[in-house]
Symmetry: C2
């Protein structure tokens, strides 16, 4: 045991980390990434970094440790090397293609949640699970571990309904319709949702235009019991916290291991106590699922995992090659969804998809007879009950229930992409449209987005607008227009691909 | 492009890293691990971290960046998101079990050397290469990339001889004999070596007792041309720098991917311009190679890779289940080796192994006729020429050539492990002996180590010493003795395993 003078580093590391001088590290036999025990009044295990900006005899201490050790950071601490968490050995087992036990998987997930693993160890875990995959047992255990290492909601009444979309299709604002339709029919649906990561607007980004979305698990329970449903941001809760931490390592590698995709979806559903879950699997070019075959396989995996966890899961494969509705970006999407609720008029793709999925849930929850769910969903929408219910939900979450779609204004800086020719839209690149919406500021600037005038297969006349880009900031609009011009997202049959300057700034 | 106020972080990151406030990061569309371009007078690409200890509008800048940007860190910088290095995509390809091209592998290795990759990306690379392995082409290309991304030595005279040991056997001080034997016979042998990582003493740790070991590539060349050989620390040069950086990610995962083991060895030989290389493959329990079969396979791989690189490689499988000689730890090992050179008396295992390997090199280099290498090596040792040559090498490296083995004193704090019974040594745990030497202070405390009185199979009488532990510090001796007592490293047939207190502190 050696005593070190504490040198406070004014940086939060997100985990317990210390920096040792290279000579001291050698002296006590510690290498970068090794664990040390810090002894003040109590013990704390930390990850050691080695760096020569720390003088001999000193230990650099990240803020997290000072916070943990007490109000005042101690002046000196004793440091001894200690062994790595056992989960590092379990990760090594995974690398060697050996199966893990339930306890081992739980330990790995717990250490991930507690930030006990280094980036190197975490990356080895996600890389191994990407390469080797996991058995069905392991996936079940990982899901249970993800549920158990976070907050859980336990409702007294049942069934609890839930809905999830695999994602990958732009403009998928259907939760704003599905949740109120379900709740209006007496079923409970505590919908947690995410913010956009690579998309232009997640459900949480949309709902935030109407009401606050950050609530605790306890608040979600209370609101759901009161008005039948909520649409909140899962990231504000501590529900299945392993998920975000795994994504932190997966995102930089552009991977989404199947086992973790499954566990992540079902853990979030399991943690809110869902009994019946409908999962939307968009299929088609540009989505995460490219063929019906793949979609069916994913659906079966989700249903099997649900069964293992005691959840009734149904999957619906939906058309994902084209955006849902005609809007992409927070404000324009909410405006479109709200208009459908208020006027029952709007894009077929949005109304059909929302009522179809809601219909499945109504049947699963016993509110509608088998085969009668869709009709009940349409009627709930048509009668205005869904709108009333959404207003109750908005009010319960602290928003203004008197809001109308007319109050929701997209960004004031606007540009139109005009068709340079008469003809049909023969190419429509979803990903590029999302990129344009993001460059225009979505999802962080809520007014930013794209209004789609012509989808694939639709006819357009020369000079008519194909899309309108909205932005809250003029420089972002300029950048979005430049991007669209540089690499054209929509192709009209017969148009000249050269020397077109088709943008009109409004 | 957004302008940020620079907030200097008093920490070296070892790579170019900045910290952004979460809201700013969202605003410019950057997530943790993404790359940003920092624009002051010139551009610099950095890895973005996200942390709320940085206020909005500020950017936390690690010291490395300030150093790079100039004498004075600028007060503000412009920051724009930029794409990840292309090698991240190549790593993804590896994860997907696709083969890489020579250019792609070069790019990955170059980015590793330049510290352009995050820990997550680096770990994905080593994990993938551990799981999938690499083709022979890929291994060749990686080796070439490791050579080309570092310093190289080019000699005017040839052949250049070299020697390497796969490691894993304690007490392997043979380079102290092999190098002078080769150089004494007119061949050039610029031996770079490493310090102990998990062992008790690397060759560099040993040589450092006799002379300085940190030299530049240029100095290595000059000294080798002058006296025929050197024994230096590779870590002080910039030879194959990728190796250390890969080890940084492999060590915490306890992996040593075969492809990187091969590339690492051969890159270091290629970079010093070696023409003829003998590789010592210790085989047996406790070493890295457990069976003769595995040893032959490894040998073939090394020979093939050598051929691809234009190097003549021979491999010698050696007995690795027992230590070489009777000493483990810097001072005791040097004392033992020097005594052999001065008196030609000493442990058979040390003399036999050194002259056998030196003999192979003498034949490869054409100094000895085929079949006559071993005899020439023995004669070089017996005649005192090897000793004279080592003294020349010591002097060339700046040490005292008048040193004798009698001058080298192991640590003053000593304890003996006594045999609790009459009988034969039936168990001798190499790894535990190394651990005891390390706890006693090796390799950092040069006087620390273990002297082995009885090896496996040897007879001992009750009360006779089995090993002597040396230490420079009494508290480390105490700790080493406690460890040895807790879990006994040597078992004498018939001894009582309980309630023995066999240590005598001298």
């Amino acid at each position: 045991m050696m005593e070190f003078k504490v040198q406070q580093l004014q940086i939060k590391a997100g985990k317990y980390k210390v920096v040792l001088n290279p000579e001291d590290a050698k002296e006590i036999g510690v290498r970068a990434g090794d664990r040390v025990q810090i002894k003040d009044h109590s013990y704390l295990t930390a990850i050691a970094e080695i760096g020569d900006m720390i003088s001999k005899g000193n230990v650099g201490v990240y803020q997290d440790i000072c916070v943990k050790l007490g109000a005042e950071c101690p002046l000196t601490v004793d440091i001894v090397p200690t062994s790595r968490p056992s989960s590092v050995g379990f990760i090594k087992k995974m690398m060697d293609k050996q199966k893990l036990t339930q306890e081992e998987i739980h330990q790995v997930i717990q250490d991930i949640v507690k930030e006990n693993l280094t980036d190197i160890e975490l990356a080895a875990f996600v890389t191994s699970s990407y390469i080797h995959g996991m058995s069905n047992d392991e996936i079940e255990w990982m899901t249970r571990a993800m549920i158990d290492t976070g907050e859980k909601i336990e409702f007294d009444t049942h069934p609890i309904m839930d809905k999830h979309s695999i994602g990958g299709v732009p403009g998928n604002k259907i939760s704003l319709l599905v949740v109120p339709i379900i709740a209006a029919n007496g079923l409970l649906i505590p919908k947690t949702s995410s913010r956009a990561i690579t998309g232009a607007a997640g459900t949480a980004d949309l709902m935030e235009i109407l009401a606050p979305v950050a609530f605790s698990a306890e608040e979600i329970k209370t609101m759901t019991e009161k008005v039948g449903g909520v649409i909140v941001w899962g990231g504000a809760t501590n529900i299945a916290p392993a998920d975000d931490k795994l994504i932190r390592a997966e995102y930089p590698l552009s991977i989404d291991p199947r086992c973790q995709l499954l566990a992540s979806i079902m853990a979030k559903k399991g943690a809110v106590g869902a009994d019946c879950v409908v999962i939307d699997i968009p299929v088609g070019a540009g989505t995460k699922v490219h063929t019906m075959e793949d979609g069916k396989k994913l659906g079966r995996d989700l249903i099997d995992l649900g069964e293992r966890l005691g959840m009734n899961v149904e999957c619906a494969m939906t058309y994902g090659a084209s955006p849902v509705g005609r809007t992409i970006g927070p404000a324009v999407e909410v405006r479109e969804a709200l208009k459908v609720l208020e006027t029952t008029q709007g894009p077929n793709s949005l109304i059909e998809k929302s009522t179809a999925l809601a219909g499945i849930l109504l049947e699963m929850g016993g509110a509608a007879p088998k085969g009668g769910g869709k009709a009940m969903a349409v009627e709930t929408l048509r009668s205005g009950k869904a709108l009333l219910k959404l207003k109750e939900i908005i009010e319960a979450q602290g928003g203004d229930p008197k809001i109308s779609y007319k109050d929701i204004n997209p960004g004031e800086h606007r540009g139109e992409l005009l068709s340079p020719a008469d003809g049909y839209v023969i190419e429509f690149d979803n990903k590029r449209i999302v990129e344009i919406a993001r460059i225009a500021g979505a999802p962080i600037d809520s007014g930013a987005g794209v209004w789609i005038h012509r989808k694939k297969g639709e006819q357009v006349k020369k000079g008519e607008p194909l899309i309108t880009i909205f932005s809250d900031k003029s420089w972002k609009l300029t950048k979005a227009i430049k991007t669209a011009e540089k690499d054209y997202p929509i192709i009209v049959e017969g148009m000249l691909l050269e020397r077109v300057r088709p943008f009109r700034v409004l």
